[in-house]
């Protein structure tokens, strides 16, 4: 597999990775209360299976997947369900969402775990089902249910399986730490994924700023009976973005509306791969993950294995008397700013950044666009960000879409370099949301129109039917007295009416 060179564009923000890499992965004390949201993945919310008062064991299923694109949720520790209610979840708008709240019993007792003794004996479908039931979703940040990626279908034979260890966002080091310390788990997961996909080639992509991780993965990859290529890629943001990384490794572009599997590629994050291994080898569902805690206002920068559902406030140690200027979940390029510390860590949480005062710009004023084109130069998707901004701001949403708004991956490179400091990505999100809302409205009005038209048609039809029936009856009457001429029938009618007016005794009536 040759080097195909980098994708177009990209930026080099300062790394800030060293402060969280001084020690190995640590564990945290189990807090008393854990809040487990039912929506931690892309797709529909999981359906709750427990009620307040239930005692649950660690790894027991709290909620089941609802439909194909969904994932179940498991208890991160043993204890009692004390509430199933709406709680604040990691969302920029401080949204509330249904959560299972567990009070830990302090014992952390596992439920009965059923490892798969020999995964090679399982067919890919059975293997997928195990992973689906373990609630494994993409841990790189997207949270897409992993088993779906392992179901390419017969039309899409998988040529290349790529493990994403690029970790291109500044500050985040959880994948780096995992690769250094748990290389064997990742390679174990790779074997399983390779079997599930029947993939021809396996590549592990790592940015060249992680020499220790590269060494560890290369070492672990040698003890395997099939070739694994550890590909070192240049450090540039967003090298770890799925479509960009596939291009870097294979030279192939994932089609605009397509999926990697359409070009014979499947990509999984290294942490997801380790979670796959833990499910198959130990029977563990996804109840914890490694996250990075860092930032200028944090005293306990480092990487931690954290149970899902722990509140950020239980994890983050703040410097004395210092309130963070910003609290971020995820990286500084694509993460979200948390409105409070009272939200739980979820499956897709890879990093918590307590931003120190003055560490990141928090200015809200921006200048006019001078069309310098710096944004277009760094866009990894070759969009024209300044044009999209222009039309998004003017609410010309059809024009924004002509400029391929929906190909935007919201990586933030454009806003990072913009000399006018325009919050470009925010405008694109706004435009996307507006377009979605308009489409919903349109669907609604289309449905209403269809209903109306259907009713009109029905009424028309009924009217036509009635008229036809009337006509038929008339015709039938005329047919009965074909010889009768008009005068005769008039005379007959007059006679009938006279007969009616004449009072007569009808024997039937009064009987």
């Amino acid at each position: 597999m040759g080097r195909h060179g980098a994708f177009r564009g990209g930026v080099h923000p300062p790394q800030h990775k060293t402060q969280s890499l001084s020690a190995s992965i640590q564990s945290v004390a189990m807090p008393r209360i854990l809040t487990v949201p039912l929506h931690q993945h892309i797709g529909t919310d999981a359906i709750c299976l427990v009620k307040p008062g239930d005692h649950v064991l660690k790894g027991e299923k709290l909620a089941r997947a609802d439909g194909y694109v969904s994932a179940p949720v498991h208890a991160p520790t043993s204890g009692t369900v004390i509430a199933v209610e709406e709680r604040p979840v990691p969302h920029p708008s401080a949204l509330y969402s249904l959560c299972v709240v567990i009070e830990s019993d302090g014992k952390d007792t596992w439920t009965t775990l059923t490892p798969a003794e020999d995964y090679t004996a399982l067919n890919p479908s059975a293997l997928r089902n195990l992973l689906r039931e373990a609630g494994i979703v993409g841990l790189g940040g997207a949270g897409f249910p992993s088993y779906i990626k392992l179901n390419p279908g017969l039309d899409n034979p998988i040529d290349t399986l790529i493990l994403n260890g690029a970790e291109c966002e500044p500050y985040i080091t959880c994948d780096d730490a995992l690769m250094r310390e748990r290389a064997a788990e990742i390679i174990g997961g790779l074997r399983i994924l390779r079997h599930a996909l029947q993939a021809q080639q396996c590549v592990i992509a790592i940015e060249d700023n992680k020499p220790a991780a590269i060494a560890a993965m290369e070492k672990a990859a040698t003890n395997v009976d099939f070739p694994i290529h550890v590909q070192v890629i240049k450090t540039i943001y967003p090298a770890g973005s799925e479509k960009q990384l596939i291009y870097t490794i294979t030279g192939k572009e994932v089609p605009s509306n397509g999926l990697p599997l359409h070009i014979g590629v499947v990509m999984q994050n290294v942490a997801t791969t380790a979670a796959v291994f833990r499910r198959i080898a130990y029977g563990e569902p996804l109840v914890s993950r490694v996250i990075t805690i860092t930032g200028g206002a944090a005293v306990n920068a480092g990487n931690y294995r954290v149970p899902i559902g722990v509140a950020v406030s239980d994890l983050l140690g703040l410097k004395e008397g210092q309130q963070p200027a910003l609290l971020l979940m995820g990286g500084p390029m694509m993460g979200i700013s948390l409105p409070s510390m009272q939200v739980p860590v979820i499956k897709t949480t890879n990093c918590i950044i307590a931003v120190g005062q003055g560490e990141m710009p928090v200015s809200l004023s921006f200048r006019a666009c001078i069309r310098c084109g710096a944004c277009a130069d760094v866009c990894p998707v070759s969009l024209l960000p300044q044009q999209m901004f222009w039309y998004a701001r003017g609410r010309q949403f059809d024009r924004v879409q002509e400029y391929k708004l929906f190909d935007c991956i919201e990586c933030g490179c454009c806003a990072y370099v913009c000399p006018s400091r325009i919050p470009l990505v925010q405008y694109y999100r706004y435009a996307k949301t507006e377009i979605w809302a308009q489409e919903r409205e349109k669907r609604k009005s289309d449905a209403a129109r269809q209903r109306f038209e259907a009713r009109q048609e029905r009424l028309e039809k009924e009217k036509r039917h009635r008229e036809e029936k009337l006509k038929k009856r008339k015709q039938a009457l005329l047919d009965k007295s074909p010889a009768a001429d008009t005068n005769q029938s008039i005379a007959a009618a007059v006679a009938r009416s006279k007969a009616k007016k004449t009072p007569s005794v009808d024997p039937d009536r009064h009987s």
């Binding site: 300062p14 001078i370 070759s382 990072y416």
Partner: protein
């Protein structure tokens, strides 16, 4: 605890409009220094007058539009417009002409179109075209490049006290003008070019000024404030088009080096045609834009009513900028 709600990305490269504008001004310094070396303090005074009135004009509009004055003036764009406009003026331009021109640039060409980033035409070039048409006598008042000699008296300049008869003694057409008049009158090109006015490679003083602006322009390229597309395509086009006519009739037309080194071609290629607001932003669009400015510049020089054509060429190409952008959009990743 309340935390601010912001949207990603939370990091920024630190680039700013003000910084870009100041760097453009810095890149103009070598050229300005050489101009002053040859033409005395006049050009520098022109620039100072232009900058003062540019800021004044901008501030007036900000007051009328009820905008923050300091915030908007600090973007530095008015200063760049002022410098590029003033550089095109003869050394003895009266202050009121400079003021009228630069106020026209800032108020009419830029702010009336919506301010920074919204103008269709390059403000400095539109203002230059306006004063060229409105004040032809003052705009032709070039002198022999004497250098910093006693003939230049700054206070006399400022007070507009240079009497016509004194001025007649020092006035001198630029090489572009001189060649235009004399070759049209039937003089042989080669003979004209042998005069002192034409220096070693095209024009005494002018060739050095062009070189200084070229160095400043290369620094802009190095700092990635401009891309190579417009300067390279523009300079190459001027070279090839003027070269073609020179080859066809060397007696009637000047060589391509003369066209490259005289007038506003070099400063135009690096500092004026590259104005991001009024030029295309796609690479193919930029190349076509540069070619267009190059062809129009040479054609106006050869057959137009004016000795130089850069300003009109840029203004004409400004009009087709949206069209060039529209038809040169890059292929988006994942689209075939």
């Amino acid at each position: 605890m309340s935390l601010p709600k912001l949207s990603s990305p939370f990091l920024h490269s630190g680039a700013s409009v003000t910084q870009i504008m100041l760097q453009v001004l810095a890149a103009l310094v070598p050229g300005l220094a050489v101009i002053s070396w040859y033409f005395g303090p006049g050009p520098l005074l022109n620039i100072i007058v232009a900058m003062i009135f540019a800021l004044l004009g901008e501030a007036m509009v900000m007051v009328l539009r009820a905008r923050a004055i300091v915030f908007h003036l600090s973007d530095g764009s008015a200063l760049v417009t002022a410098a590029l406009f003033a550089v095109a003026l003869p050394p003895f331009t009266p202050w009121w002409l400079t003021a009228i021109g630069v106020m026209f640039a800032v108020i009419v060409v830029k702010q009336l179109f919506g301010g920074l980033g919204q103008n269709i035409f390059n403000p400095a070039m539109a203002a230059y075209a306006m004063v060229l048409l409105a004040f032809p006598k003052e705009m032709a008042a070039w002198t022999w490049p004497y250098g910093l000699s006693e003939k230049f008296n700054a206070s006399a300049y400022l007070l507009q006290q240079i009497p016509d008869r004194v001025f007649d003694g020092i006035s001198q057409a630029t090489p572009l003008d001189d060649f235009d008049i004399r070759s049209t009158a039937g003089e042989i090109g080669d003979v004209i070019l042998r005069g002192d006015l034409y220096g070693t490679a095209g024009g005494y003083a002018w060739e050095t000024i062009a070189l200084a602006f070229f160095l400043g322009g290369c620094w802009l390229l190095y700092k990635r404030l401009i891309s190579w597309h417009i300067p390279v395509s523009l300079l190459l086009t001027v070279f090839l088009v003027s070269g073609a006519w020179y080859i066809a009739d060397p007696n009637r037309y000047a060589p391509p080096t003369f066209h490259l080194l005289n007038g506003a071609v070099v400063i135009g290629a690096f500092f004026i045609a590259t104005d991001p607001v009024t030029a295309p932003f796609t690479a193919p669009g930029k190349i076509l834009f540069g070619i267009g400015v190059g062809i129009l510049t040479v054609f106006i020089r050869l057959w137009g009513a004016f000795p130089d054509g850069v300003a009109f060429a840029v203004l004409l190409m400004n009009m087709v900028t949206p069209l060039l952008d529209q038809f040169s959009q890059p292929r988006v990743f994942g689209h075939r």
